[in-house]
């Protein structure tokens, strides 16, 4: 029974280490965990099975998993390698969505504002943010949306001008509706 209990202590420690090490690049993470595991195996060989105090002491001497991982982060050559889970820029996502939604051109205007803003932020993030493609898509959609608005309004103006031309100066088509 005691054996099971001390095994649990070691397993729990390794699980905590694995969780803490998620900020490390995959290869470094695997390497660190296997090294600590080997270390524990070496240490356990000198301990009487079920000697809980000795197992606790072995783990305590190693230091907390968080401490070890933070040393590993410090030892990682460049900050970029760690890449704490690169995230897509929020403005880039908003830009594409608004570009698609269009909302009579209002969406397009915001798609452009957010799209350019996203591009700037992503470039300044030095690789910590992704979504450059999304932002560009948002910008393209934004311009297309605005082009559609312009074309439609031009078309409308042309239509009005056209109908105005053919129908003389008899302006409103609505007039008949006024007197029901």
């Amino acid at each position: 029974m005691n054996n099971v209990h001390t095994d649990r202590l070691v397993e729990d420690y390794l699980l905590r280490l694995d969780a803490a090490a998620s900020v490390l690049p995959t290869v470094r993470r695997a390497e660190l965990i296997s090294e600590i595991r080997d270390h524990l195996q070496e240490g356990l060989r000198e301990i009487e099975p079920g000697d809980e105090a000795a197992v606790r002491n072995l783990l305590e001497r190693l230091g907390s998993p968080e401490e070890i991982v933070s040393a590993a982060v410090d030892a990682t050559p460049s900050a970029q390698v760690i890449a704490p889970s690169t995230v897509a820029n929020g403005y880039a996502i908003a830009s594409v969505l608004l570009g698609v939604l269009w909302i009579l051109g209002i969406g397009s205007v915001f798609a452009l504002i957010f799209g350019y803003r996203a591009r700037r932020e992503i470039k300044n993030s030095r690789g910590n943010q992704t979504g450059l493609g999304l932002a560009t898509a948002g910008i393209v959609l934004g311009w297309i949306g605005i082009a559609i608005v312009l074309l439609v309004s031009l078309g409308a103006v042309a239509l009005v001008a056209n109908s105005g031309g053919s129908g003389g100066t008899r302006v409103p088509i609505h007039t008949p509706q006024r007197n029901p």
Binding site: R28, H39, G43, L62, E67, I68, A75
Partner: protein, 121 residues
């Protein structure tokens, strides 16, 4: 209990010098991680968390100051042995010189300061 400021200074010193202590230990010949840590632990106040040695060893390896080789052990998993490279030896020699100067300068100031104080009174 060490006062907070002293502890912080010691942490910084340890952080800066530990890798050279590891290199110095390897001058005696190749060692595996557990063995190395055991030896380091015997030096008082040098090692706080044994686990932090592994990231340090991994960096020394990436910097080509040590090389590693795997070897079967009589019992248990194979062991990864660490060995000093010529670059590691050079780094260690450079550090030893600098350290001697640094240590002497600090000692000089620490003890000299004491002397001045006594002279003043």
């Amino acid at each position: 209990m060490e006062p907070g400021v002293t502890r912080n200074a010691l942490t910084q010193l340890r952080r800066g010098t530990l890798e050279y202590c590891v290199l110095a230990l390897l001058r005696r010949g190749r060692q595996y991680g557990f063995e190395l840590i055991r030896t380091l632990s015997e030096s008082d106040g040098l090692l706080v968390s044994e686990g932090t040695i592994y990231p340090l060893l991994s960096r020394l390896r990436r910097d080509d100051l040590v090389t590693t080789s795997w070897q079967e052990s009589e019992a248990g998993p194979p062991r990864r042995y660490y060995q000093l490279t010529s670059a590691g030896e050079r780094a260690l020699a450079d550090f030893s010189d600098e350290w001697a100067r640094f240590r002497d300068a600090v000692d000089e100031l620490l003890t000299h300061g004491e002397g001045d104080e006594q002279r003043a009174y």
